[in-house]
């Protein structure tokens, strides 16, 4: 039997490649375009290209500004805008070397990893357990309980902060990394359960029944059938949770307090924002470093994202 997880992956890849294969590189060969020269068609389509180009320029400029500023000296940055570096290039890697060895940024990056990776793993695991129970087990109160899960989707984080701080304090967890794990996992769980239940519920019943007849235990079915066929949904949840956890400022700021030991990079950067002089030239470099990892994660797993989200959503 072929690996079931390979099927969705292969299909996604095929879909992703399709647009690049579709247009022919030799317009003259196409019968419809035979009459009009290629430049005329390009000219007629220029409003289309122009609109896309303008939108992309608007979306790219802020990030480009940051990237270029991070390679400029503080003196230059104070005197002129970042675009001056395009005509009179004067770059330095000083901001990066400073950020990487002189400060807490390296520590912050490691701490962020230590917060985001366990949070992501546990969120996916616990959501999958619960999603499986909601999708494939019959029990009293299943409907109402799932409605509660949907209700929890809209709880704003601020509502939970004060009681949560008191609770963590009484458990002796205030000021620790596990406090951040607990909060971040608990806060994303309703979304995770919602997404995975809908994905699991769409799986063919025969597949699970057959396994049960073969005498496979629930854990075996879960690990060998349910999880491997749910790649896109699990990946979507993991991507979102990793990026949110990595980028979260509020939770570590409140639950880990002012102590600098385990503070993630977002807290370090928020500290630099308020600092003056010395900190300012590190700020842009540190910001760029902090953005790098989630960008890589997102773009490498992006193809799963749309599929996972679409199948997980309730059809309107």
């Amino acid at each position: 039997m072929t690996d079931p997880s390979a099927v969705p992956a292969a299909r996604t890849a095929a879909v992703a490649q399709a647009p690049s294969q579709a247009p022919s590189n030799k317009p003259a060969a196409s019968p419809r375009s035979g009459r009009k020269p290629w430049w005329l068609r390009t000219l007629r389509r220029s409003p289309l290209h122009l609109t896309i180009l303008v939108l992309c320029a608007i979306w790219l400029t802020p990030a480009l500004g940051l990237l270029i500023t991070s390679f400029r000296t503080p003196g230059d940055t104070a005197k002129s805008g970042w675009w001056d570096a395009l005509t009179a290039p004067a770059f330095t890697v000083h901001n990066y070397t400073d950020a990487l060895d002189g400060t807490d940024i390296t520590d912050g990056l490691l701490n962020s990893l230590l917060i985001a990776v366990p949070t992501t793993v546990v969120t996916v695991l616990v959501s999958a357990f619960a999603g499986y129970a909601f999708a494939w087990m019959r029990f009293r109160g299943r409907g109402p309980l799932f409605l509660v899960v949907i209700g929890l989707l809209v709880v704003p984080p601020q509502v939970t902060l004060v009681p949560m701080m008191k609770l963590l304090d009484s458990l002796g967890l205030m000021g620790t990394v596990p406090a951040v794990w607990i909060y971040q996992v608990g806060f994303t769980l309703p979304f995770g359960i919602f997404l995975l239940r809908n994905f699991f519920a769409a799986m063919p019943k025969e597949l699970l029944d057959a396994a049960q007849v073969d005498g496979a235990g629930q854990m075996r079915i879960f690990l060998k059938i349910v999880l491997p066929t749910s790649g896109p949904a699990l990946a979507s949840l993991a991507i979102l949770q990793f990026i949110w956890s990595w980028n979260d400022l509020l939770t570590p700021l409140l639950f880990m307090g002012g102590q600098n030991d385990g503070a993630p990079v977002t807290v370090q950067i928020a500290g630099l924002v308020q600092s003056t002089g010395e900190g300012q030239n590190l700020l842009t470099a540190a910001t760029f470093l902090a953005v790098l990892l989630p960008l890589i994660v997102f773009f490498s797993l992006q193809r799963y994202y749309a599929r996972g989200m679409m199948s997980g959503s309730v059809k309107g």
């Binding site: 896309i52 970042w82 984080p157 909060y183 400022l249």
Partner: protein
């Protein structure tokens, strides 16, 4: 023991806790194997639900109930004050501006994001460099609010007239529009809310585009061909075929955006901290909690925020019920 040392945390977070969770279910399954089948089928779901129930009760259910309770107590959560905190929410002048701003956010942010999302999905579908173009649009999705704050301070930065404008937008504004004075984008009350909303649009458009693009690719090519054979022009094809086919997806993305917008906090906190009449409900909760230290006010504002989300909630539940009925 010091919890915050890296080896211990790595071991705990990546080995002990995940393995422990799986072990919990495995041993639980073993334990219930001995009991009668009917009882077993009744117990089993709760075994699989336990980790989720414990965590979400601790983080969401219990705090929400406590917040409702605090909202009827005074600033220090000592004496009951009835509905005083709620009266304050709806009569205080500053709160009026806060609620108004939130309303502006709720309308402008989802509508602009959705409109641009459909535009980008439809346009990029027709060009060869689609992947590159969407990648640019998606880029800000992975950026944190703190980082976005740093990035957009560079964009919106303001220098007095007559000096060199180092902020991107003001440099553009003063050089393109003849005789224009540089604008304080974040302080000028005629534009600052829109300036903040645009940051949220910048960050969210990518997610909307990914999902709308995928939905667009799912529309059967025959529908388009049939319409073109009937002599429909591009606009008619878009109005009659593309838009109706995308509608369920637009509604889904719109709901997600509404929930996001309702809770919007970080953008305002990082950029203006609610100054210059840009405050929103979620940021107000934060400042009532940690600046004014008035737990009663903070809790009442939170509850109002939660109630404002109720219509979205009802929509979600209704479409879930409809889907359940067809299952």
């Amino acid at each position: 023991m010091d919890w915050n040392t890296r080896p211990i945390l790595t071991l705990l977070g990546l080995v002990v806790i995940p393995v422990g969770l799986i072990a919990l279910i495995v041993t639980g399954e073993r334990a219930i194997r001995a009991i009668r089948r009917r009882t077993r089928d009744r117990v089993r779901p709760w075994l699989w639900l336990v980790p989720a129930l414990v965590l979400s009760s601790a983080v969401l259910v219990y705090p929400t109930i406590m917040t409702v309770y605090y909202s009827f107590l005074d600033a220090k959560s000592e004496d009951g004050v009835g509905f005083d905190n709620y009266t304050w929410v709806f009569t205080d002048d500053a709160m009026h501006s806060v609620l108004g701003n939130n309303l502006l956010w709720l309308i402008v942010c989802p509508v602009v994001t959705l409109a641009l999302g459909v535009l980008v999905a439809v346009l990029t579908d027709r060009v060869r460099y689609e992947k590159l173009a969407t990648a640019v649009i998606i880029l800000p999705v992975a950026i944190s609010f703190v980082a976005a704050g740093v990035i957009w301070q560079l964009m919106y930065s303001y220098q007095p007239p007559g000096t060199a404008q180092t902020g991107t937008l003001n440099a553009l504004w003063t050089s393109v529009v003849p005789g224009a004075e540089p604008k304080a984008w974040l302080a000028d009350e005629s534009v600052n809310n829109y300036a903040l909303i645009f940051i949220a649009v910048w960050m969210n458009l990518g997610l909307a585009t990914i999902i709308l693009s995928a939905a667009l690719k799912g529309i059967p090519a025959e529908w388009y061909e049939a319409a073109r054979v009937d002599g429909a022009n591009e606009w008619q094809v878009f109005r009659r075929i593309t838009l109706p086919a995308l509608w369920p997806t637009i509604a889904m993305v719109g709901t997600t955006l509404l929930i996001f917008t309702l809770k919007v906090f970080d953008v305002v906190y990082v950029m203006t901290n609610g100054n210059f009449h840009t405050d929103v409900v979620a940021n107000r909760v934060y400042s009532e909690l940690f600046v004014a230290q008035n737990f009663g006010h903070a809790s009442a504002v939170s509850v109002v925020l939660f109630i404002a989300a109720a219509p979205v909630l009802v929509l979600n539940i209704r479409s879930f019920r409809r889907e359940e009925a067809t299952r």
